[in-house]
């Protein structure tokens, strides 16, 4: 029964979140909005590689096309990180300060947990749409328009390898988003920094646009405990862009890091909730 209530509350939260995210404009403009940002990000890195290839910087053309495929997949799936981090980092601030409803949600029977999960799932859907559209546009632009013959076959993706990795990755990102919400519950100065900080760290250390091995050796241990590193490895393996032999170990590490982030996320959230209740932070105003 409790589970059914939780799911129902999360579903309602998802519905509210979806309306807030999408009904500010018409569906066509909303869809355009969803694709333009990740596509522009992709085009930035793609053009860097194209400029590198044009000056013959490092190697033959096969190197660049393979690198571009590797980069497109990493950049496309990074949309999950961006959407979830930015969406969940601002959630508490918007509901507490702007709409002034956080206290009402907190005292409702559903409590905050399913609400946060439901709102996080909206970011997951937005991220999923961005991933699919970015991959489709990439193939259309680089192979269709520019005839670059990038080795990226969207029909040849091993879905049995892809889905478990993506599901675990999303759970870990939601757990990290949970932590961001927790920090914002007890703080009113971090809401505009947290999402960008965490997604920036993941962009640099997670192997999004270059292999982790290129990072300075003293930073690599940090990369090797981030779920995003193993998520992107496993995803690239399912696209056939990395040797599939490492898939099971990457999935295992992803599962382990997901479990750890989940435990930390829930613990941090509960601690923040207790502190906020003690100090009366659920209805604190920070804008005048």
């Amino acid at each position: 029964m409790a589970v059914a209530d939780f799911v129902k509350s999360a579903g309602e939260s998802f519905r509210v979140g979806w309306k807030i995210e999408s009904n500010w404009t018409d569906p066509v403009l909303f869809a355009t909005y969803q694709v333009i940002r990740p596509l522009a990000s992709l085009l930035i890195v793609a053009f860097i590689v194209i400029i590198g290839a044009s000056v013959g910087a490092a190697a033959n053309s096969a190197f660049y096309t393979q690198y571009l495929a590797w980069l497109i997949v990493g950049n496309a799936f990074y949309a999950f990180v961006l959407q979830i981090m930015l969406g969940m980092a601002i959630l508490v601030h918007v509901d507490r300060t702007r709409y002034e409803v956080l206290k009402n949600i907190y005292i409702s029977p559903g409590t905050l947990h399913p609400y946060v999960i439901g709102r996080g799932l909206v970011s997951v859907v937005n991220g999923g749409v961005s991933v699919v559209l970015t991959l489709l546009f990439s193939v259309a632009i680089f192979n269709g328009l520019l005839h670059m013959n990038i080795p990226l076959n969207l029909l040849g993706v091993n879905l049995l390898m892809l889905f478990p990795a993506v599901i675990l990755g999303i759970i870990s990102l939601l757990a990290i988003g949970y932590m961001l919400c927790a920090v914002n519950i007890v703080s009113n100065r971090m809401e505009f920094i947290l999402g960008d900080s965490v997604s920036g760290i993941f962009f640099l250390l997670g192997g999004v646009i270059f292999p982790v091995a290129l990072l300075p050796s003293y930073v690599q241990p940090i990369s090797n405990v981030l779920p995003i590193t193993f998520l992107l490895n496993a995803v690239r393996e399912s696209f056939g862009l990395l040797p599939a032999g490492n898939y099971m170990s990457d999935l295992a590490y992803l599962g382990l890091t997901t479990l750890v982030t989940l435990i930390i996320g829930i613990t941090v959230f509960r601690l923040a909730e207790q502190r906020a209740k003690k100090l009366g932070l659920f209805d604190r105003k920070s804008e005048y």
Binding site: A40, I51, V55, Y67, Y99, D196, F210
Partner: protein, 278 residues
Amino acid sequence: MLPKATPREELLINLRAAYARMWVRLRGSNREITGLVAEIGLPILTIGAYVILYRAIGLPPTAGAAVIIGGAMIAFWTNVLWNMSSQWFWERESGNLEMYLVAPVSRMSVLLGMAMGGSVNTSIRALGIVLLGIFVFQVPFQLADPLSIGLVFVLTLVALYTMGMLFASIFMLYGREAWNTANLLQEPVYFLSGAYFPRIYAPVVPFALQAAGSLIPMTIGLDAIRRLAINGESIATIWPHIIALIACTLILFPLARRALNYMESLGKKEGRLTLRWQ
């Protein structure tokens, strides 16, 4: 009936309003040290990723210098979007917009104050980004003509913040669109301005892309600054950039003024100037 203010009195009161708005911006943005640290440190994460990507594909170290300058200029674009363009939206949400509207000063003087405060604040952050970037990534610069760099930099800021004034007027009646539109104008402008490329005006970049990018003053100023600071070129090679930046300012300023008057009048007719939580 109150006596009509002389032009001198009117000018003085508007300058005082601009100064007051600038003061609030300077004070508000610098009293929180975590914000200052984050605004310098965060761009370094992205810049670092691109510098390592450049190294991965074998581009020369000057490409790293280009991306550091690009990253610093992005700080200005972000400031223009979130602290100029969206500002009337924030003010309306917090209930301050009506106070601005009933104040006996031109709305343009308020925007001017925002622009001056924002540009000073962001210059501090941009300097931090460049210095930290040079320290961390050890990239080469050739500062043969610092005065010209300063001139182009100031012209770029003036053009950019004039564009911000225009956007502020257009965004005036936005509800949640303000937030989403500002978001939408981030990565596409980073792409079009070539902020993270070694050079936007390169043969491999399609002409249509260069033309679209040239509509943004940052693209023009960024290219000129890179030529001066990285390639060691002289001011004689970038005079078209200077003319283009001055032209941008001369075109955008009257447009901003007209847009502001139009949007204010529209807002009054539709009763949307005090509408919150749209």
